[in-house]
Symmetry: C2
Subunit: 235 residues, 2 copies
């Protein structure tokens, strides 16, 4: 079976969440049925959002160094369970020369399958993820461009960013209250489905908590990893 290399630690809780979602996506009756994973959880990688804003060092070299560790340890395939890190996806892939799966593609594919290509897709993500166009500019080769609904700038500053910070700091009830309020605002403006484009958000938000079908980008990537590794196993 192919060994998945996980470029992790961005943040460390999101890495664990991704690993758990890979287990949940695997039909397994015993330990030995599970996907082999090598995980490099290096929380010292420079902050992605700060770098995007021009307030900090680029994380590219640290991400590539982490990828080389995974390569040394025998990874066949690389994933990054961090949305913002995907701003450097093309550079990382070019330097590592290993197959990589793209988190946003996995999320868009599931959103289209769930809600159809006419659906209005609400997006909850960090300021950097939204402002960089990581989601809104991404196209699947065989699908029309999605119809996006974004949080307002006020909602970003008062609900979404403080909500994500609260989750990162372990204050989960606070994070849930703030992010659910942002989700309700998107639902009121007509969102049919919510794409959760930040690894921290699904830790506190699901369909029950926000009253809309949700696509968890982390879980979508996990399901794609399992499908890919099991295909490689059968091949």
């Amino acid at each position: 079976m192919d060994t998945v290399g996980v470029l992790g630690g961005m943040g460390p809780l999101a890495t664990i969440d991704f690993m758990r979602k890979v287990l949940e996506a695997t039909p397994a009756a015993r330990d030995q049925d599970h996907v082999p994973m090598i995980v490099c959880s290096l929380p010292q990688i420079p902050d992605r959002t700060a770098a995007f804003r021009g307030d900090g060092d680029s994380p590219l070299d640290a991400i590539v160094a982490c990828g080389r560790r995974l390569q040394s340890a025998g990874a066949d395939l690389i994933v990054m369970p961090c949305n913002t890190a995907h701003l450097w996806f093309d550079d990382v892939q070019q330097q590592l020369q290993l197959p990589m799966l793209h988190l946003v593609d996995a999320a868009l594919r599931e959103a289209l399958d769930l809600a159809g290509s006419d659906a209005r897709m609400g997006l909850l993500a960090t300021d950097a993820t939204i402002a960089s166009g990581l989601y809104i500019n991404r196209r699947l080769p065989d699908a029309p461009p999605p119809n996006w609904l974004l949080p307002t700038a006020g909602e970003m500053l008062e609900l979404v960013m403080p909500g994500i910070e609260a989750v990162k700091a372990g204050r989960l009830p606070d994070g849930q209250a703030l992010l659910a309020a942002a989700a309700r605002a998107l639902a009121q403006r007509g969102a049919d489905v919510l794409v959760l484009g930040c690894t921290e958000i699904p830790l506190v938000l699901d369909t029950a908590a926000c009253g809309l079908p949700v696509v968890d980008a982390t879980a979508a990537l996990a399901r794609q990893v399992v499908a890919r590794c099991r295909d490689a196993n059968r091949a």
Copy 2:
């Protein structure tokens, strides 16, 4: 900061549980405060309990190979969040030539700190862990031998092993009822503290559920990892 290498996948859920306990044991306000970890979760390592019983291949070569991957990826220190794998601890350490922390030592240290060296320590663990002497033969260099209390053979067959199986199968209330009954029997025979020497047991048993102070060996190892890496950081 030192990078911890985690020899994982034995089983994969226990690996994730250990990683989460490392996060919980870390005083951190942001990603960059967390301990860097490289995790090799290779569920294809042969079954440790079967090997102990003489019913399967030795896991030693696979564990060492997993350790070498961690070494290639830059781990400074190795831990194995699996009790039964510690039957091969000395061989693994000898072949890897890297510092390793011992799960049982971490648990014994916490039990001594919690209950004192005169305390009677009840042990809940798998048949293989208990019968192999993994806990009862282990000595801390600076402490007298613990005063152990074990479940009876009848309690092992009727309560402890079915309780662990129930947890592994996701039947948590059944598992809790069985394991709490085994804990009460140890308490009635005079146990002052309970050492939980199996990664599944702390998922359903805590001080509230069994009326005794408990030591979770996985959490004890996690706390020792954090203390060690943060010391290395300050040094």
